[in-house]
Symmetry: C2
Subunit: 269 residues, 2 copies
């Protein structure tokens, strides 16, 4: 049997290009090479080798790995080890892509939520809020540092996060530097760990206003809400709650003019 490269390519379903590469790399050397024309000719032994190479390539072995395997005369001895090693590597790849897949799914959900809530009414209203399970990270410092808190919770509870990010503010007044607040997410399940507290956050009646625009203009909306509450007989409760309906995305910050933040002042009648 003496097959030209084209015929051998058809038989093995390896491309001519690949066959030439394998020759160059010393993995699959044609049984005969015409002295004058340099034409390659292949025989049955080549066919066996080609089959082995194909299978090993399908198993994601690199050409250099295949060369090693083929070059060892005691190939049958070490083959098993190498298969098991490759199996481990493939498992790792699966794990890697599984992690990417999970992160992606998470981001997609967040982005989806961020897209909704386009037409809200921007008026003060009274509403009932349900009790929910939250994971919270209490912090002291400046308000804008709350982002770190979300990061910390996100790392631990990424899979279980269920709803939007929220902020609980335990000071009755605006504090420049030593504010006491808590970053939290509504979660499906989980248990506290380290600095992260998992607990039920009681619902109730609140006065709510959705603020549109960057965070540094929030105080205007706060003024409106407080004015409205003060005109009633309601007693304000702490902590004040902010729900970040639409904020900077995971990937892009987006335009702060379009951020939506709901201010919730809980009240006792």
């Amino acid at each position: 049997m003496k097959l030209s490269i084209g015929e051998f390519s058809a038989v093995t379903s390896l491309t001519i290009k690949s066959l030439r590469l394998y020759h160059e790399k010393g993995i699959l050397i044609p049984s005969q090479i015409d002295e004058f024309t340099q034409y390659r000719y292949y025989d049955e032994a080549n066919l066996e080798t080609a089959k082995s190479i194909k299978i090993l390539r399908e198993y994601d072995f690199s050409l250099s790995e295949i060369k090693e395997i083929l070059d060892e005369c005691d190939s049958e001895e070490n083959l098993l080890e190498q298969l098991q090693e490759k199996f481990k590597q493939v498992q790792e790849k699966i794990q890697k892509y599984q992690n990417i897949s999970n992160s992606l799914a998470n981001t997609i959900n967040l982005e989806k939520e961020n897209k909704m809530h386009v037409n809200e009414n921007f008026e003060i209203e009274e509403k009932e809020v349900e009790t929910i399970l939250i994971a919270g990270y209490r912090m002291k410092g400046q308000y804008h540092e709350i982002g770190k808190g979300f990061g910390i919770i996100g790392k631990k509870f990424g899979r279980h996060i269920n709803g939007k990010a929220m902020g609980l503010y335990f000071d009755g007044e605006y504090k420049e530097n030593d504010a006491d607040f808590e970053a939290c997410f509504s979660i499906r399940k989980g248990t506290g760990e380290g600095d992260i507290s998992v607990r039920e956050l009681k619902g109730g009646k609140c006065v709510s206003l959705i603020h549109k625009g960057p965070y540094n203009t929030l105080s205007e909306s706060y003024k409106k809400v407080f004015t409205a509450v003060n005109e009633t007989d309601y007693k304000k409760l702490l902590p004040t709650r902010e729900v970040y309906i639409k904020g900077p995305g995971m990937i892009f910050k987006g335009n702060p003019k379009n951020y939506l933040t709901e201010i919730q002042i809980f009240i006792e009648e």
Copy 2:
């Protein structure tokens, strides 16, 4: 803020090399470039972009995909679609590696089995064989064509194959050309489909001999077994069974001198 490339590299944990590449590709253009020294200087906007790039790279987006995403001013519009598209691609990769993993696990099992059974006794013996579930592919032709049969079953039942390959021979005599035989594997479960029959293969008492060596010398061992059986009062039953204990591996053919084949002639007392 005006960071040199080294400082920016430290802040973003992107290598200097990568930053220069991103600049060259137009993905992340330094806010300022010194006219004379060509030094790159980065600002906060660059920092934001760098963060986005890092996340997208972690999500397995290619640089050209990232460039597309970043170049669209309406990035927030299409971002969701692109995330979902990427999610699909990642799922496909997981599936691909999962398939490789399965095939590898299969091959590893076969190779492991092939390694065992090193010291067998090569004498005729009587034994009891249990009833097992098999997937079989009946064929007519030449004996060596049985390999195709194994291939066909392997494709359909790869996951469920449990034991060694066997051959059932329904002719009472050696037939050069029009032999009637069946390739089969012991399987864990499964149902027949198309030309593949799944059924119980009855066990019983048999006279057995393990043949060592290439298949074309099997006839010598057959002669021994038949001579032995004929010296008794046992009645020979059909089909005759061959169990391929150690044959050509999935990847390497191995040395035919080491092949082990058990011949089983079932008998009725």
